[in-house]
Symmetry: C2
Subunit: 345 residues, 2 copies
């Protein structure tokens, strides 16, 4: 019933060791033998048993997760989820270690990546879209290390896979929600103003969200005017200052979209101005804080990416790459979650 490596060996007239060599592309087999084994495997429709393979391996798989250090709640959650996955996989022959680097420092990230050499079978990294980083990633890939980017991609690089959401689409979704929640506006009032706050315009995901947002606002909601983006550095005190200024300057503000972190600052500024009810506020990332404000009604919708899903997905994708299996594309697609008050998990 089950076709094993034994059956293939018999069919090909070789030993199981040779079949193993061929199937796992290990060197030192005569081309003619490779042919015969491959033909036999094809003929029998052999499917390797990855459980048995993992069990038999002498070495564990070693993965490294490189995450930005000391930052916002989302990244802390992500790290916690990576550690939880590490804990679970430790019984399944996968060892995961977590390294931390400064997010904004491309050089430091590149150095860290290069220092890894080939001491890991797989690396998952919250990347930066920067030539130095791309180079470092490509270096790892060429050294035979499996590489995935996590949450933030480095598009030009040779990484095998990006585990994260489409941030442009996330920005478009935010715009759609904001525009529709604000609703139509009687023409005599003139265009309503919409505030846009980002952490840093050096972060690719922030820029992409902004781009998607402005695209849809312009196309679908011409009666709303998006104000020039302000940077809040993902720091809530800075974000609060920026928002206070925005509110003071803009009596006819009808909506705010915060592309990055620091939502606490916006809530404070809105409450100080007593405008938390009449301004539509779209934020990113479900945290205890945003959840609470969603329930209270100050935040109207949260766009989310599930850090638990991302952590598990990165590990699964790396494992599949190491074992030479395809991953289940559907299962590894990270959703752009939309949370309103009633569908938060």
């Amino acid at each position: 019933m089950r076709i094993t490596i034994q059956d293939v060996a018999r069919e090909a007239g070789v030993s199981v060791a040779t079949v193993d060599r061929v199937l796992n592309r290990r060197p030192g087999v005569r081309p003619a033998t490779v042919q015969r084994v491959e033909a036999a495997a094809d003929k029998l429709a052999y499917q390797p048993d990855r459980l048995a393979a993992r069990l038999a391996r002498a070495r564990d798989y070693r993965f490294c997760f490189i995450l930005p250090k000391g930052t916002n709640t989302f990244m802390q959650n992500l790290q916690a989820e990576v550690e939880a996955a590490a804990q679970r996989l430790s019984v399944e022959r996968v060892r995961i270690s977590v390294h931390q680097v400064d997010v904004f420092d491309a050089q430091a990230l590149a150095d860290e990546l290069e220092s890894l050499g080939d001491s890991y079978d797989g690396v998952a990294v919250v990347a930066l879209d920067h030539p130095l980083v791309r180079e470092a990633l490509n270096g790892l890939v060429e050294a035979g290390v499996k590489v995935v980017t996590l949450v933030s991609d480095a598009p030009g690089s040779k990484r095998a896979h990006y585990v994260g959401i489409d941030n442009t689409a996330a920005g478009r979704t935010a715009a759609m929600l904001l525009g529709r929640f604000v609703g139509p506006r009687s023409p005599e009032k003139g265009p309503g103003k919409v505030g846009l706050i980002a952490g840093s315009l050096a972060l690719r995901d922030h820029v992409e969200r902004q781009f998607g947002f402005e695209q849809i606002m312009a196309r679908e909601f011409p009666h709303l005017e998006v104000l020039p983006v302000r940077e809040g550095r993902d720091d809530y005190e800075k974000v609060e200052a920026v928002t206070r200024a925005l509110l003071a300057e803009t009596p006819d503000m009808v909506g705010i979209y915060n592309v990055g972190a620091g939502n606490r600052g916006i809530v404070r500024a809105l409450e100080a101005a007593g405008r938390q009810r009449d301004i539509v506020f779209i934020a990113h990332d479900l945290t205890p804080f945003t959840r609470k404000q969603l329930v209270r009604g100050t935040i109207d919708a949260v766009i989310n990416q599930d850090p638990g899903h991302e952590a598990r997905s990165a590990a699964r994708v790396l494992l599949s790459a190491c074992e030479g299996f395809d991953f289940v594309a559907d299962q590894e697609r990270i959703r752009i979650d939309v949370f309103l008050r009633d569908n938060i998990p």
Copy 2:
């Protein structure tokens, strides 16, 4: 480094066979021995290796999925996803078969469940909330079969787990979207009317969605009036007739929520009346059809549950139950997806 059953055996002064018996609660071990083995396992913080266990088992795990027969696109997708999961798991010592029964016939479903006896280790079933079904489910559970309900729950029963969304919360979410998308209404116009269509009020999920929807509409959007629910039997021709009637009777209709299937009928009726632009339409379940209407703008939002996730989750939960492991709660939580035009996968 890795603690194995060997280590536990040595520590307890017994053989590995005895450790296996104790750890897997197999009968025929003296209580005193059980104590000793358990103490040893605790002391060493032994964690069994589920890969090795699966490999060593003589028998495969046998799971049965019971799905409603010949119904809507969602159920067809669900079946396809179950089959895809079955295909993948077949290499991992899990055999999944799919049975089909008539959804609306509690007796038939109960009979089917009872006929299963103990020929399966696990059963996943799209349930009906009916005493006969509950009894049959409890019978299976008592016979030692692991049981999960899928998509539609049977709350009073002893099933181990429900794989699906909270339908009341889904209805509340639909209401929130509809109410906010419609927006405020000048008082002189009087309350706007909202049409509510369900497949059948005998289906628990439909009733729950309706309940959640009406709850939020009443509480949050008093300027909107929800019309009495109409049944469309999840059949698009019937749904079209119902919608046409609704539209004819209700010139001031501002929104429609379809709790069940048959969205095609609503789109046709809206287009026939030329009102697809000014009526907010919230539907369930992403299909090629709803996706297209979302892009065209006739459907304003789709509330979704991911059939791929549900199929895989049911299989994983059953497998964990059979192997005596906890599942990862977070991973098995089925999301209430909200899809707008820009975040569809």
